[in-house]
Amino acid sequence: MQAILLTLVLAPLFGAVVAGLWRNQVGRSGAHWVTIIGVGISFALSLYVLKLYVVDAQPVYNEAVYTWMVSDGLRFEIGFLIDNLTAMMMAVVTFVSLMVHIYTVGYMHDEDGYERFFSYIALFTFSMLMLVSANNFLQLFFGWEAVGLVSYLLIGFYFKKESAIFANMKAFLVNRVGDFGFILGIAAIAMYFNSLDYVEVFSKAGSLADTQIQIWGDTSWSLMTVICVLLFIGAMGKSAQMPLHIWLPDSMEGPTPISALIHAATMVTAGIFMVSRMSPLFELSETALSFVLIVGATTAFFTGLIGIVQNDIKRVVAYSTLSQLGYMIAALGASAYAAGLFHLMTHAFFKALLFLAAGSVIIGMHHDQDIRNMGGIRKYMKITWITSLLGTLALIGFPFFSGFFSKDAIIEAVGHADRFGSHYAHWLLVAGVFVTALYSFRMYFLVFHGKGPRDEHAKAHLHESPWVITVPLVLLAIPSVFIGWYTIGPMLFGDFFKGVLYVAPQNDVLAQLGEHFHGPLAFVMHGVQGLPFILAMSGLLVAFVLFLLKPKWAFDLRVRFDWLYTILDKKYWMDEIFQTVFAKGSVLLGKVLWKGGDQFLIDGVAVNGSAHSVGVLASAMRRLQNGLINTYAMAMILGLLGLVGWFVFK
């Protein structure tokens, strides 16, 4: 088993190293073959492992590969924990990754740095596999930071573009703000559990549930709340939750395949994966879960709103990703971890599909990404059109599509949740359904319907992308449509996650829902009578009217509600706030400390000051020793007087 797992994880790394270090030797086709084969091996083995766990119901595998170090009795290891959750994540990651690898052959065909790109995405796959297969916090953090590194490298792939190299630094730094919390959370776990091993930590969690710690003065904090909130701050960075979401839209500076792989399907869901993995800890803190719920729901609704006013095709999908990540996080906050993971899986397929389809359109439009310049593309790119439509329907939660099951489950679960913030969250998520349908179909209609591309030249050259691009679209469209139907039963209400996720009985909203679950068909029938379905359909309808039928109405609305448009267009001024307060503020602080502290106080006053006073003293002494007898005589007399005076008056 260990050999299988090592091969599974290391095969993409091997591809990455070969394609990266020997790129001149292997050449372009060598680079894509070695990485595609590497990821292909991983995918095949992931399927095998998935079968072992799901079909053959193998026991959980939990073993160390090697000891990283032992210090002070604390063991730091590299090792694998394989259960249904890991198996599912590995299958999703390697599948999407393989699709993206193949797609890239077509998408990056004319680009410089082709080999480098393949090296990076294979390295990413390795890092992500390390993250999801970890059996301890050290390796989790290793994978966590490694995916961040590759994300940095890929956002800045076009390193000549100022906006790209700004975006990648921003992404890394904002993620580091999250990691700042994450590492403190790990430190807290290391201190109180004296172990970094998942199983050991989870088994001790119950005994520490009531521990209180003092952080500031005499106020007591629940240890579990502190740990969970700190860990969740890490998730907020990686999974781009408000207010740490600002890096994700900018990450669209990277080439489209990695937007699909990293910034939609896999890396950004690491936070959801992590919190689910830590469910035995989160379940012990009601406060932390409320925090998670509120952050998630807020992100889901408010970033979705921004999506309505975006005109860059990739940015619309990026804001949609933010919003969907918010849904997943909100599910976790409602203790419906399985629903969050279920949506993670369905979202991975349909969002990767939407991004790759957007990339296909971008190629067709010769790298024009403005949706206002598009239109009528359905006539020229049939496969891209149909698969996009399927992806969009999945995204808005159209009945029978995969997204319908996962999103409805989340909304229902949050509705049943009973903790601080759950009403707020529920209403935002319900309203979010309308928003989702509106921005999704706005984009869909503007791109694929209506009158053809504005630019005649572009129109003349529009044609469907090559098969390396369309085949991944089709392969991703299949699960986007069907996977919800087949997996909702076992994943949400069956025992797929039994023994993996821990939910306290009083929090178990999915169990409450499960009492009324009678198969996917009944679930759909129940769903279409609910408010979310009505909202989704009205969103679709409004989009149809405003952006296809009567575009003038949309324009009038925008003029009438200019203030609202401005707020959304400026993205609540979050970028500006961060840029001014943190970026410029830090530079200013640095200047003050440097000029005021180092240069003025330390060097100016203390160092050169004392050197200067030594100099002054020395020159005064020199003046005394001028070799003139009368000065010496004078000094002697003064000294004598002083001495006598001291004896007389003492």
Partner: protein, 504 residues
């Protein structure tokens, strides 16, 4: 345990004698002196390897001990020996010296023989500092270290080298005078010059505090700690690349080593009483210096400030032991913090060396260290850019590189002392990444807008060899730090146990 060959003496004296030979070979045949210097450096490194392979990591006792009377009238001995604390530092020294010799190969055209000789002599002297177990011998090596470095900066340095050398000299000399007084006091008190004898010497609290203060000035200047750090950026900026590398990679570690060999074991109660003071200065170094590094426009200054910030983790890791020991909620952690500080020293040796060498590569081509003179280097120097990004990431503490290990251990340990220590220390995750990556962005990435950059050539085989070997070390230590922890474990454990016992 005493080996048959006096390996330590060989490792100390071979480079010194070799250095004198190189000096004697004269500047007229530069290639002869270069190859001779390389031969000596490699031979020294190879001879230092048995110190690792023959090391018994199960004991905290001194190994490879050599002892002979030197000046019997004052009980001064020629006494060498190593434990798990000094051994890794010696290997770091012999390893980095080879790289410095190679890195200066054709770059140094002015008096190449003297240049190589200075570094070889420097190497022997620094190994002497780490291996000396007699306080006078230690002091002699300690002071002897100043001279070659003074020459390296003064002869091969930049335009403002006179100011920098004098500042460097005065600062460090100022510190060592106090140390000498403390050592003499300890001699009169104990009648011995043996450093290990001082460890067991009973001392009152006032004595301890005065001795601690005297040592502290000496070591804090070397580390350097806030607020006695301002000599370092100036020295780095003026020093030639090799000088910066030795300065950052080895000489700073001597300050950290001093805390472990002198301050803490000789005056444990004073260390305990003043621990919050040292911790505060360390945290100021991490945060304050991080912000100062952010606004530097000179690459070398930026890396110099980054060094100070990273060395803050070393002193933080060392001095949190007392608070961890007295925290009833933390079962253990003192050893973790100290080992973290040690790992940080070794790792910083590799990373800072690599960063300064990277700047050296650019400086050799453009004769500028100003960040604003660069931009888009990746377009013309792709391999160099790969190395630079890699080392920048390790400087920012990316897991999988050595830069992560020490910081991670110290953050984990400092959490056990006080939540806010860990909080402040962890700020380095953001600020360290910010100053490093911002520099990378402005130097490496972007389009080529300057003609001078457009004409750059990528690294040659010699430079690739130097940077490549450092990259391998950084990766090895990051992926598998266990062997390094193992060799120091017994010594650190012993030290922590020693610190728990009061001398009063």
């Amino acid at each position: 345990m005493s080996a048959d060959l006096p390996i330590l003496s060989i490792v100390v004296w071979l480079p010194i004698i070799g250095g004198l030979l190189v000096l004697g070979s004269g500047d007229k045949a530069p290639n002869v002196s270069r190859w001779l210097a390389l031969f000596v450096a490699v031979a020294t490194f190879l001879l230092s390897i048995p110190l690792w392979t023959g090391f018994d990591s199960s004991t905290a006792a001194m190994q490879f001990v050599e002892k002979a009377a030197w000046i019997p009238a004052y009980h001064i001995n020629y006494h060498l020996g190593i434990d798990g604390i000094s051994m890794p530092l010696i290997l770091l020294t012999t390893f980095v010296t080879i790289l410095v010799v190679i890195a200066g190969w054709e770059v140094i055209q002015y008096k190449p023989a003297s240049y190589m000789a200075s570094f070889l002599i420097m190497e022997g002297v620094m190994v002497g500092v780490f291996a000396a177990l007699d306080s006078m011998l230690f002091y002699v090596f300690w002071e002897a270290m100043l001279l070659p470095m003074f020459l390296i900066i003064g002869v091969w340095g930049g335009p403002n080298r006179v100011y920098a050398t004098i500042k460097f000299f005065l600062y460090t000399f100022f510190g060592s005078v106090f140390m000498l007084v403390a050592l003499i006091y300890l001699y009169f008190k104990s009648g011995s010059m043996g450093i290990l004898d001082y460890h067991t010497l009973k001392l009152g609290i006032t004595e301890q505090i005065l001795i601690f203060a005297a040592f502290f000035v000496a070591f804090a200047v070397k580390v350097p700690m806030f607020p006695v750090h301002t000599w370092l950026p100036d020295a780095h900026v003026e020093a030639p690349t090799g000088g910066s590398v030795i300065l950052a990679a080895i000489m700073l570690k001597i300050g950290g080593y001093g805390f472990l060999r002198f301050s803490m074991p000789i005056t444990p109660d004073a260390s305990h009483q003043l621990d919050l003071f040292v911790i505060t200065l360390s945290l100021i170094a991490v945060v304050y210096i991080g912000y100062v590094a952010l606004v530097q426009s000179d690459m070398k200054k930026l890396i110099a400030y980054s060094s100070i910030s990273h060395m803050g983790f070393v002193t933080l890791g060392f001095f949190i032991v007392f608070m961890i020991a007295s925290n009833e909620n933390a079962e253990t952690g003192a050893i973790l913090g100290m080992e973290g500080g040690m790992v940080q020293m070794i790792s910083h040796g590799f990373i800072s060396a690599a960063m300064f060498l990277c700047v050296g590569v650019l400086y050799d081509r453009m004769h500028s260290r100003e960040i604003s003179d660069y931009g888009g280097v990746v377009n013309v120097m792709p391999w160099f850019a790969a190395f630079m990004v890699f080392f920048a990431m390790s400087n920012a503490g990316l897991p999988g590189t050595s830069g992560f290990v020490g910081e991670f251990m110290v953050i984990l340990a400092s959490f056990r002392a006080n939540f806010w220590f860990a909080f402040l220390a962890a700020i380095t995750l953001v600020i360290g990444a910010a100053y490093t990556l911002w520099m990378v962005k402005r130097v490496v990435f972007g389009d080529v807008t300057k003609e001078s950059v457009a004409g750059l050539t990528d690294i040659n085989a010699r430079e690739a060899l130097v940077l490549g070997s450092l990259a391998i070390m950084v990766l090895l230590l990051g992926l598998w730090p266990a062997p390094l922890i193992e060799v120091m474990d017994a010594s650190i454990k012993n030290l922590v146990e020693h610190l728990a016992v009061t001398k009063l």
